[in-house]
């Protein structure tokens, strides 16, 4: 059996929060040796954000950090200390890819910009992943993932009919930029493999987010049209939405959790199957609902009829019943539904590795499988600075006494 495809590729990972870490985790999934450069003087935001293992705060106990840093090593370097910076340069010289997602200019001011690093590693692939990109009048504006969804135009397109713009519910701009960065990096590695040439990659989270609403943007550039927000409806399908079901069977933290089933009916034949499945076969021939145009005209009424049926059922029962009848449906899954999903479990999606501080806890795994170069998560997320001594001595050529001295000087924290 072959090794994972990026085995032998080493990444100096100066990223933090989520966009950059999501990118480098995907490289780690494929076998790259990803070394995260951290510092207790500037803790990664995700290390100090819940959920906490067992409800107990700690910089190594955050599910946010531990989910998105699986398979990486962590070294602690104080980049404001000359010897910390020197270690960072030595690390860069040993790496194929150097990536950061600090605001534009931060790495340059630390003397760790692409121009500094390419001198020590001419075929390096340098990646800057910022909110606005590294050129243009707003290049030094600061960005956080949650603000990129509104900035990109996605919020103005998302929302209940007649309501203000809405968010999408999580910091979507981050992982999406991470995925687009991984695409660019592997493409650049592929080019380097053929030609020996490295290069610099400028990524803007804003631009990556706009890539996800391309057809909406074309509505404006083709027709001058800003589409109306219309809840979860679809112009070419009806019904198409989330329908109320019975609350989750067991209380969570003493309160009921509301549950919903997603239903999407693509054509008249599928609508006839839905009508039969909810024991109202007559709806298929009812002139209010027989055609897509009629269903769109009477969609409020149609949704009320479907809700009457769904509200008496658990979401999983409703979804399974509709699927058996040949209707596209699924549970609107909660955190709990995902963690307990028998389908995902049967596919081996979850990863439970022994973490030195929190033990075996379930994490989301890799969304792809490769038949000949299997990918796997080889280690849980690292403790802060867990691999400092190992990387400095084994990879960067420092002696043990030097490392001890650097610890004492505050260069490795």
């Amino acid at each position: 059996m072959n090794q994972a495809p990026l085995t032998g590729i080493r990444v100096a990972d100066f990223t933090w929060v989520w966009a950059g870490p999501y990118c480098t985790m995907q490289l780690a999934h494929m076998g790259a040796d990803v070394i995260r450069v951290e510092s207790e003087t500037r803790l990664c935001v995700s290390r100090v954000t819940p959920p906490w293992a067992g409800g107990q705060y700690g910089v190594n106990r955050s599910g946010y950090f531990n989910q998105y840093n699986q398979g990486k090593r962590s070294i602690a370097l104080n980049l404001k200390h000359p010897r910390g910076r020197e270690a960072a340069l030595r690390l860069a010289a040993k790496c194929d890819v150097v990536i950061n997602n600090f605001a534009a200019g931060v790495m340059d001011r630390l003397g760790l910009g692409y121009r500094d690093l390419v001198r020590v590693r001419p075929d390096m692939i340098g990646v800057s992943l910022t909110g606005y990109g590294d050129s243009g009048p707003l290049h030094d504006y600061v960005a956080y993932g949650p603000a990129q969804v509104p900035l990109s135009g996605m919020s103005a397109l998302t929302g209940y009919r007649g309501w203000p713009p809405m968010h999408v519910g999580f910091s979507y701009g981050d992982p999406n930029a991470g995925t687009h960065a991984a695409v660019a990096i592997i493409a650049a590695l592929y080019h380097r493999e053929r030609t020996g040439e490295g290069q610099y990659i400028d990524m803007s989270q804003w631009e990556c987010t706009m890539a996800l609403i391309g057809e909406g943007i074309l509505d404006y550039t083709m027709n001058g049209h800003q589409p109306e927000r219309d809840g979860s409806r679809d112009p070419s399908m009806a019904p198409h939405g989330l329908f109320r079901c019975r609350d989750m069977a067991e209380l969570v933290a003493g309160t009921p959790v509301d549950m919903w089933v997603a239903i999407a009916v693509a054509d008249d034949a599928e609508f006839a199957r839905l009508a039969a499945a909810i024991e109202q076969p007559g709806l298929a021939g009812d002139e209010r609902f027989a055609t897509l145009a009629a269903r769109k005209r009477n969609e409020d009424e149609l949704e009320a009829i479907v809700t009457e049926w769904s509200a008496a059922r658990f979401a999983s029962e409703a979804a399974e019943h509709l699927q058996r009848a040949g209707v596209a449906a699924a549970v609107c899954a909660t955190s709990r539904d995902l963690a307990e999903d028998p389908h995902l479990a049967s596919r081996g999606y979850f990863v439970e590795l022994a973490h030195p501080e929190i033990g075996r806890v379930k994490h989301a795994g890799i969304p792809w499988r490769m038949s000949e170069t299997p990918c796997s998560i080889r280690s849980p997320a690292p403790l802060l600075g867990q691999h400092t001594d190992e990387v400095l001595t084994e990879l960067l050529g420092y002696g043990a006494a030097e490392v001890a001295e650097m610890h004492a000087q505050g260069a490795l924290k």
Binding site: P5, Y22, P51, G63, Y64, P137, V142, Y144, P150, L151, S152, G153, A156, P164, V168, G169, S171, Y172, P175, N176, T179, H180, A182, E193, E197, Q199, I201, M203, E207, A211, L212, I213, L218, D219, N223, H225, Q226, G231, S232, G241, L242, M248, V252, Q323, V327, A328, A329, A330, A333, D337, L338, H343, R347, Y349, P367, W368, R369, M370, S371, E372
Partner: protein, 401 residues
């Protein structure tokens, strides 16, 4: 300068968003992509709006036109033996086959990796499938909405103060885009492996798993704390919320403590901001019902651009809630050359969203618009595969192409 994948040849059998977006990402980085569509009707995306000019037309779908730049198109009926033979000829010269046929469709038509591998041992075949190629929901019927829901994203969004309203999907086809993005990553990983001698292989990408991989803290909240995140529950940290200004909407964003302190100064340090219930980011989350009206009142008196600039001047990551016109007219995006003008032979000339990455040596580039249905049949099937004109005519008359 050519893109980094300019030596790569890809065959795409894609419908709607997931596989087509993956192939677009690679095509825009230089790969040569041949898109195979069903004769007569083509990719289902052709039936989806928005349409140039408003009226439905298979060559005027904004969804299709956006997702299929830089591809050439042929039509082949893969269910017919002659069609499949032609398809195998295409595969024999390709590095990658990427598709999103459903597993049941693959079974029915013999669309199998082992078969294509015999034709081309170095082929990387990527199957982008809703629930993966195994497991109890393998053959479930899906649409984008059901996968965004079953991946755990949809439940997180909706009206905070109105639990009676349902969860809310994000605009468009976000499950498809995420399946496509992850499929591009995995495909290129396998391609890189092949360049280093690993040979061809089958790559399987689950759209549900791609969504479940990106939902921030929602995939660990249950294992870590036995908690369910909801659209109406308190967010751990605030403000991360939309507010109406005098002339539009702005997104207020204070994640780190120093960002909040700077924003308080931008507001002129009102007395209430010094209250103990707001003095730490988690407390602002817990006490957000008290905080939000105070913020709304102050922000409501501001204008969007002025507040945006004042916040940014203090390194506070606010952002305006852009309309599409704001994007197309943005000085910043214009200076970066983001939008690309391109002529399509039927739909016309207009701007497209541009590069999601700027590679210094091997730049992203749009070289051609999306193909019309069967536009390159003669060029590719005749010119490149060497099928003669009479045979092409017979294939056409029998609806094989």
């Amino acid at each position: 300068m050519a893109g980094p994948l300019s030596t790569v040849r890809i065959i795409e059998v894609g419908e709607m968003v997931s596989a087509p977006y993956a192939a677009k990402l690679m095509a825009d980085l230089g790969a040569e992509v041949i898109k195979v569509e069903r004769p007569a009707t083509g990719d289902r995306a052709r039936t989806r709006g928005p349409f140039a000019g408003g009226a439905a037309h298979p060559e005027k779908s904004g969804l299709f036109i956006y997702l299929n730049t830089n591809k050439r198109g042929v039509t082949i009926d893969l269910a017919s033996p002659r069609g499949l033979a032609i398809f195998e000829q295409l595969i024999s010269g390709a590095d990658v086959l990427i598709h999103n046929l459903a597993p049941a469709e693959m079974d029915r038509t013999g669309f199998e990796f082992e078969r294509f591998r015999r034709v081309n041992p170095k082929l990387v075949m990527t199957s982008v499938v809703p629930y993966g190629l195994s497991g109890p929901r393998r053959d479930w019927r899906t649409e984008d909405l059901t996968l965004w829901s079953d991946g755990g994203a949809c439940y997180l969004n909706g009206a905070r103060d109105h639990p009676e309203l349902p969860p809310l999907k994000a605009y468009g086809y976000q499950a498809g885009y995420q399946g496509g993005g992850h499929a591009a990553v995995a495909t290129m990983g396998a391609l890189f492996g092949a360049a280093r001698g690993a040979g061809g292989q089958h790559v399987e990408v689950s759209v549900q798993e791609s969504v479940a991989a990106i939902i921030e803290m929602a995939n660990t909240f249950w294992p870590y704390m036995k908690m369910v995140l909801t659209r109406y529950g308190a967010k751990p940290v605030q403000p991360l919320d939309s507010f109406e200004c005098r002339d539009g909407w702005i997104f207020a964003c204070c994640v780190e403590e120093h960002q909040w302190h700077s924003f308080v100064e931008v507001m002129g340090s009102p007395e209430w901001a010094a209250e103990e219930i707001f003095d730490e980011r988690f407390k602002r989350g817990v006490n957000y019902d008290a905080l939000r009206p105070l913020l709304a009142e102050w922000i409501g008196k501001q204008t969007v651009q002025d507040l945006y600039q004042r916040a940014q001047a203090r390194r506070v990551p606010f952002a305006p809630i852009s309309n599409l016109a704001d994007l197309v007219n943005s000085e910043h995006l214009r200076a970066r050359g983001f939008f690309v003008d391109l002529s399509h032979p039927v739909a016309g000339r207009f701007k497209y969203p541009g590069a999601p990455s700027k590679l210094s040596r091997t730049p992203w580039e749009i070289r051609r618009p999306a193909p019309t249905l069967g536009q390159h049949n003669r060029e590719i099937l005749g010119g490149e595969l060497g099928i003669d004109a009479r045979e092409l005519e017979s294939l056409r008359s029998e609806a094989v192409i």
